[in-house]
């Protein structure tokens, strides 16, 4: 039986991290936790050696801060007020998605399933979430392919959507759904053959185990939360 990777968080800790950050950032006074969540997401991306994700997250956070807080001070105007509102709203999503990206990038469907099983999650939820994690790249790929085909055919763009919204939606959604369903048939057959949904409790190749990294991440999270509480950034 293989051992968990050193320094890597347990899948249960990764899920808990996303839930805590999401609840904190989206709470009524959650803007104060946004810088800490952005810092945490960037640090997790750096520990994963995902340089592009770390850079994109830092850049998105900086852009939202500039649009949401600096631009209205520089030019008080209704237009900048609308931009500020959009940025203040979006920065919370950017912060949460930054931490969720760590879960998605580092957790295989098998590891997620084993982690949820170890956390005693109900079988329907554990199996469904694991299949969703496996199926997301397939559907996203089909959606990108359909969007590319529409662009090549000159059918994409906001103009076409504004003129014939229903036709544009049909041209996008129907081929995307049909192609995804065809791809899903193979995946479903493969999953059923491998015992997905079996009533028997399967064993895991890499059983989820808590390591020193999990309490260390918990302490870092508590320190960031305490710092955000006292410093009140963005509030």
């Amino acid at each position: 039986m293989a051992a968990p990777a050193r320094g890597r968080l347990d899948p249960r800790s990764r899920i808990l991290l996303v839930v805590i950050v999401s609840l904190a950032v989206m709470s009524p006074d959650g803007l104060r936790f946004v810088p800490a969540a952005l810092a945490l997401g960037t640090a997790l991306a750096l520990t994963d050696r995902a340089w592009r994700r770390a850079g994109a997250l830092a850049a998105a956070g900086a852009a939202m801060f500039a649009g949401g807080w600096l631009t209205p001070l520089w030019w008080p105007h209704p237009i900048t007020a609308v931009i500020a509102l959009a940025c203040q709203f979006t920065i919370r999503f950017v912060a949460t998605v930054g931490v969720a990206a760590h879960l998605i990038a580092t957790t295989s469907p098998t590891a997620l399933s084993a982690g949820l099983r170890a956390a005693h999650a109900p079988r329907p939820i554990a199996v469904t979430l694991a299949v969703m994690l496996r199926f997301f790249p397939v559907v996203a790929g089909e959606a990108a392919a359909v969007a590319d085909a529409m662009r090549l055919g000159g059918l994409a763009g906001a103009g076409g959507l504004a003129r014939h919204p229903i036709r544009a939606l049909e041209r996008f959604a129907v081929p995307m759904i049909a192609a995804s369903l065809r791809a899903s048939e193979d995946l479903s057959a493969s999953a059923l053959v491998r015992g997905l949904g079996s009533r028997r409790r399967p064993s895991a190749m890499i059983p989820p185990r808590f390591t020193w990294a999990d309490p260390a991440a918990g302490l870092a999270l508590a320190a960031l939360a305490a710092l955000s509480w006292w410093a009140r950034p963005l509030a």
């Binding site: 803007l31 609308v82 509102l85 969703m132």
Partner: protein, 210 residues
């Protein structure tokens, strides 16, 4: 009349299992992903401004209706649509939705499930009303405006806009306006379900996918 009524009962129970099978779980997972990707792809247009965000919401509802109506053709017993609503709610919670918004999405899934059950999972109109109710999940992101209104306008940026601007915006986003938005979303859900139902006949039934 059947020679073996007990045997018929057993066959009927086997044909309509009460527990969620592996195929049910796969259907929920596959259609939940399709639903989320369709919604996400269209919501990207809303990043431009909050006004565009409001305008693309009906388009999201109509496009997602195609996936939802196709999903309903594969549902045969209670619990499947509820599970669908629950995983959608969990995903939105992880993606940054509030706990209240996510709870509302899950609740809409349960109500949609009960409507479809009342229609025996074969009724077209039950499916249309089920989606109309489920589409109210798209109103859930606006719910924090009912709860944290003062906190929403108490940030430094809003204060820098001046009290007059804040008052004007506060006056625009009143309870009746938000209720009107909820009604508009439900109407979009109804129209979306009709279009989704027609799209199933036009494309998916012919292709053998529904």
């Amino acid at each position: 009349m059947s020679a073996n009524p007990q045997g018929d009962q057993t066959a009927s129970a086997a044909a309509r299992p009460s527990r969620l099978s592996a195929r049910d779980l796969l259907s929920v997972a596959i259609f939940a992903v399709i639903f989320l990707v369709v919604v996400w792809a269209i919501s990207m247009l809303g990043v431009i401004s909050p006004l565009v965000w409001l305008m693309v919401t009906p388009l999201q509802i109509i496009a997602a209706a195609i996936a939802f109506m196709l999903f309903l053709t594969r549902v045969r017993h209670l619990g499947v649509i509820s599970l669908f609503g629950l995983v959608i709610a969990l995903f939105f919670l992880l993606a940054g939705n509030s706990l209240l918004s996510s709870a509302v999405i899950a609740a809409m899934g349960v109500v949609a499930d009960l409507i479809c059950r009342a229609g025996g999972y074969h009724s077209k109109w039950a499916s249309i009303w089920a989606y109309t109710v489920f589409s109210l999940a798209f109103f859930s992101p606006f719910l924090p405006l009912f709860i944290d209104r003062e906190g929403y306008f108490a940030t430094a940026t809003w204060e820098s806009m001046g009290q007059e601007y804040i008052d004007a915006t506060n006056k625009l986003l009143t309870g009746p306006v938000l209720c009107g938005l909820a009604v508009a979303i439900a109407a979009s859900g109804f129209v979306g379900a009709l279009i989704g139902s027609a799209t199933l006949r036009k494309h998916f039934v012919r292709a053998g996918l529904a």
